[in-house]
């Protein structure tokens, strides 16, 4: 895919706190911060574990799998260059279902998404960011 063919997306500002999440896709990995003491996955990433208040935290590779907890088909053209319709979803991580990612469901029709759908992370590079999207497990 050429860069010119990509839709417009507002990208995150990369920092030492979030770089693991937004660049893991370069290696095909969905990385989430994890407490090395109690093994709790921490998202969004912060410097203290909310489960045990531990400070020894490090990014780890998740399974990349999850389940659609809920979704919406967005029809509103919020940004020139990002054409609706597209699906916005909250995906529960298989590794820790109480933790969700807001994302887009790609790789299927917008009408094919359902609550409970098994999905897997896929990545698209925009500049120095690899945005994690999710696609139906069956299609990956």
């Amino acid at each position: 895919m050429t860069e010119a063919a990509q839709p417009f997306r507002v990208l995150p500002r990369l920092t030492d706190d979030n770089r693991h999440f937004w660049t893991g896709g370069a290696d095909g990995e969905l990385r989430v911060l994890r407490c090395q003491t109690c093994r709790y996955w921490i998202h969004p990433p912060v410097a203290v574990c909310a489960n045990c208040l531990g400070r020894d935290l490090a990014p780890e590779v998740t399974s990349g799998r999850g389940t659609v907890a809920t979704f919406t088909i967005n029809h509103q053209p919020w940004y020139p260059g990002l054409d609706p319709p597209y699906v916005i979803a909250m995906v529960e991580l298989e590794d820790q279902p109480s933790t969700r990612l807001t994302t887009n469901i790609v790789g299927c029709g917008v009408d094919d998404v359902y609550i409970g759908m098994p999905v897997r992370a896929v990545f698209e590079q925009y500049d120095d960011v690899w945005i994690p999207f999710f696609a139906p497990e069956a299609a990956t």
Binding site: V10, P12, N18, H75, Q76, N104
Partner: protein, 386 residues
């Protein structure tokens, strides 16, 4: 609690007034001061939500500093900021300040000018990251939403609505009643932005914004300012307030996707009063998006969890005239304009004082709830006629 709403005021309200937001604010403040029978020199407290903010454009008018300075107030206490239990958190704090004796008369205000800020550019004009060239990068919590084309609470609330539909069988036809009820009431409110009749067919056929929410499920960006004065005594008593939030303070990490922070604020309200939901005569519940109102109805115990759709079905229960629980009697933000929370409190006070004119709820209502906020924001007040 020992606090009262002693006066209310409101500026002109419109889709696009092209007037300075400070001017609108002062109009509302002066009207509230006069309504309370006070003089500017009596005001010794000032409170607002969210305070001065440059971004997003139009989301807030003047902050504490500008209003303080223009009115040349002599303050003993003030508060402004957005880390609060919803938009009405600024009023709730004022109640606490009065009860604690930190101030006698607190002027509270909320100003929006989102209509003018958008001008003729539409919603995308005020979206973060839009129109700023390719270099803009998202920080903070917005970084988790903007890369996915999900910049709006319309997207986030839609996902809660979708989950509610999924778990409880709630339908668009049921949810429509929030919008239809608001429009019926707005027809009787001369200040409402949209007053033309709306039918169920209109609702079902209008364009989708973010499924299952359509255009008429989303409030209308407007210009206007609302002010209220909190004092120790007044024609409307603050019986109880509520600010609880027990889950993660987040749009997408909240534990139960059929509720929001309002679940906790709603339930907690009844722990501070001998009144019960059955005692309430009129409710003014936040409708930045229609689903939020349905969720407040459940959270406050006016129906059971998951039963909100059935409760509002057909609109009979929530009708202004003859309903068991008249709702959003001014039209709500869906039809009367997005005054961002304060409009509901203003309307509750007007109804309890019996001065709502054509839209007055019959039967001399004595108890009202005003509630504001969705997602991780929630705060509510139980009010009684003094």
């Amino acid at each position: 609690m020992r606090a009262a709403i002693s006066g209310v005021g409101q500026s002109d309200i419109g889709r696009r007034l092209f007037r300075d937001p400070l001017e609108l604010t002062i109009d509302a403040c002066l009207e509230a001061i006069a309504d309370a029978g006070l003089d500017r020199s009596d005001i010794d407290g000032l409170s607002t939500y969210p305070g001065a903010m440059a971004i997003p454009p139009g989301f807030s008018g003047p902050g504490i500093t500008e209003v303080h300075d223009v009115l040349r107030l002599n303050l003993r206490w003030f508060n402004g900021g957005m880390e609060a239990p919803g938009q009405l958190g600024s009023v709730i704090l004022a109640c606490l300040a009065v009860e604690a004796g930190l101030a006698n008369h607190v002027l509270c205000f909320r100003t929006v000018w989102e209509g003018t800020a958008q001008a003729d550019q539409g919603r995308s004009a005020v979206m973060p990251g839009s129109g700023r060239g390719g270099g803009y990068r998202a920080d903070g919590f917005m970084q988790w939403f903007l890369p996915y084309g999900a910049p709006s609470a319309a997207n986030w609330i839609s996902m809660y609505a979708q989950r509610h539909f999924h778990e409880f069988g709630t339908t668009r036809e049921q949810l429509a009643q929030i919008a239809l009820n608001g429009r019926r009431n707005a027809a009787l409110n001369p200040k409402a932005v949209y007053r033309d009749p709306m039918t169920l067919d209109d609702y079902m056929n209008v364009r989708m914004i973010s499924s299952p929410l359509c255009l008429y499920d989303c409030d209308v960006p407007s210009d206007g300012s609302t002010a209220v004065i909190v004092s120790r005594d007044g024609p409307v008593n603050v019986e109880a307030v509520s600010t609880a939030i027990r889950g993660r303070p987040s749009w997408d990490q909240w534990d139960d996707l059929t509720t929001m922070a309002l679940r906790d604020a709603g339930a907690d309200l009844w722990t501070r009063t001998s009144l019960t939901p059955a005692d309430v005569d009129v409710v003014e519940l936040y409708d930045g998006f229609s689903f939020i109102t349905l969720a407040w109805l459940e959270a406050l115990g006016f129906c059971g969890k998951g039963e909100g759709g059935a409760f509002i079905e057909g609109g009979t229960n929530i009708a202004r005239d003859g309903g068991v629980l008249p709702l959003n009697t001014h039209g709500g933000q869906l039809s009367a304009g997005r005054l961002h929370g304060y409009g509901f409190l203003h309307e509750a006070v007007v109804q309890l004082r019996g001065v709502a004119g054509d839209r007055q709820v019959p039967g001399n209502p004595e108890v009202a709830v005003a509630a504001a906020g969705g997602g991780p924001l929630a705060g509510c007040l139980l009010l009684t006629r003094g």
